[in-house]
Symmetry: C2
Subunit: 157 residues, 2 copies
């Protein structure tokens, strides 16, 4: 197995195909990692959420990291890491962007909106409000592992 | 779909079954997330690595977060988040622990050692030294999503 860096363009292709990633945020140098469902378009990850620890932390520190991978098996995979900046799509200021986010995400993640609806229907959590945010990709790097073939280096993370 | 918290014991069962997770570390409040292969035993994640950014950052700030999940489909999954502390298993001080880590990991991740061997054989990176570390689990939380059934709350991250 050889591990090689991939180009920025290849990284963006992986992100555009992806729908599940891991979001890292941090506060007072304590990191926090959670799975997210996203839609990626033109340097932005669009994400639907409800209020919780990750939102609280990203409001305090908008520097985030998103990791997305495609794993075929242990010796054939690609992993992309995007460093980015959190932007909450509050209405009415971000009405256009949040409408866009909703449309993008509804195509892929209707189940998630259903889950929200069910939580609301239970009526035991009155603080559930849908919330959209996006993450601007400031830089991106990626590695690809191949079982065979030529490798030009051995980058390490 | 309902999302419910799981107990600490259930979280540890997920970790013990797991072998791939996402490790979050941070430096100067910039988070960084990478996939890791691990073996979990008695409150410790054991990990094999080579030197790189994550090692550099964890040496500077040992507070880390490991996220592990089992995803059946979009409405049936479990996700565990462990906050922990980085400990590098340097020899000779940690000889017993690093030998233990090597044995645990070799059972599951021989491919990874093979990859290291191949990188060495190429001879274009003389700085590749195997390195073992472990992460002590300081606290753990988990969520489980179920397509049907009773849910007792709606925790949010």
């Amino acid at each position: 197995m050889m591990i090689n860096e991939i180009t920025g363009e290849e990284c963006r292709e992986v992100l555009a195909r992806g729908s599940i990633g891991r979001l890292g945020c941090s506060l007072d140098n304590q990191p926090y990692v959670v799975p997210i469902c996203f839609a990626y378009q033109l340097d932005y990850f669009y994400v639907f959420s409800t209020f919780g620890q990750k939102i609280e932390w990203m409001r305090a520190n908008p520097k985030v990291c998103v990791q997305v991978d495609e794993i075929v098996n242990q010796s054939q995979w690609v992993s992309v890491i995007a460093n980015g900046t959190y932007e909450e799509l509050r209405e009415p200021q971000y009405l256009v962007e949040s409408t866009h986010a909703r449309q993008l995400l509804e195509k892929r993640h209707r189940w998630w909106l259903n889950a929200l609806a069910e939580r609301r229907a239970r009526g035991n959590d009155l603080l559930i409000d849908p919330l959209f945010f996006r993450i601007h990709t400031d830089s991106v790097t990626g590695l690809r592992a191949l079982a065979e073939g030529e490798g030009a280096g051995a980058p390490q993370r």
